[in-house]
Amino acid sequence: MKPAPFVHHSPRTLDETVATLGEVGHDGKVLAGGQSLIPVLNMRLAQPAHLVDINRVDGLDAVTVADDFVRVGATVRHAALERNDDAYAVLPLLRQALRNVAHPAIRNRGTTVGSIAHADASGEMPSIAVLTNAVMEVVGPRGRREVAATDFFEGPLQTVLEADELLEAVRFGRFTPGTRTAFLESARRHGDYALAGVAVAVDVSGDGGDAVVERARAAYVSVTDVPVVIDLSEAVAGQSISSTWDAVEDLVQSGIAPEADIHASSDYRRMLAAELTRRALATAVKEA
């Protein structure tokens, strides 16, 4: 199908964008990469009267690496962030997760910030936002505000963003040096929506085979309504990095509430999430 008619706005500056959103935001949507929005428009599940296309706005396509964070602007494509070596050097989890976001053709157009604003429970990057304690930079007619990732997501496809606000950038927090990370998901076909996925961050002390886990945290894809972080430390703190990680199972299974669908039951997704967590922890500690 084809989208319903809309008025296309193509602001060139952030000020112009905010002004346009102030006028038409209540009956409009922001268009960035459009890889989630345009399917919805094509199927006429939404018929906004205005689209505010931010693709030509100056200054929104920058990736900035700072001491404490990696800042990603609203029009940075998944593929550009995935290939950014400076970002990878300080926060490998970004690339580890981005490789699992849909297919390359989608990553070439879709934006990381857009997928966070979209807040699909099957999206990979919202879980990365919460695990890295990201800060959302929001701008709108009433000025700027910053929102912690844990306060940003309200439900599936729902965030605290008002209709006339723009998520201008996301600052992904950097982990302390030595934190090891991994991302794993299971999908019926590489690039499809994951049945379950997990991002882990593990702090260890000591070197080589003698290293011991200090703390571990995980965030999930497709098995919670909003991305949550589960602290696994009580199950794994003090244990060797060569352990089997079985102790995390109860914590994971009680911390998530997956929905059932035609692809997998709720119980299957619970077991899958626990198993992926074990494997991701084992992978992370190997990544020195």
Partner: protein
Amino acid sequence: MTTIDETLRVPVTLTVNGVAHTRTVEPRRLLSDFLRHDLRLTGTHVGCEHGVCGACTVLVDGDPMRSCLMFAVSAQGHEITTTEGLGTQEDMGPVQQAFVECHGLQCGFCTPGFITTITAFIEENPDPTEAEAREAISGNLCRCTGYQNICKAVLRAAEIRRQGATEGGDVP
């Protein structure tokens, strides 16, 4: 409900396969429909129109993207390459040649999306493994072939391209 109003139509200029075209269209005109209906470049096929099947994949500044998930108005200023720009029947590009040699198509509906996707892939990865070839085409659906011959065609296309490069010939 917004009414369809002539004043909502906008002029759009796109460079497709090296040629600039200008048409006046509604902003809701998908790039896929702009190519097919306005420019009559029917090589690009439209399957699902929500980004799943990959048949409409074109190259935007050399990168594969779904033309059904882009508005023509958003594509202004970018170089679009469709399957028509990657060779002709008399002078096929490496991927097209490989599809013929390896029987990489049956009905041919999905083929344009594979041709564009694989062209960009072997540009980035000139000597892929079979596993890499499989992953590269995971975003394109084919209901006829069972994919085995398409995987072979990816590897063969890379080979043809490498030979072309060593012979100093033009690689489209």
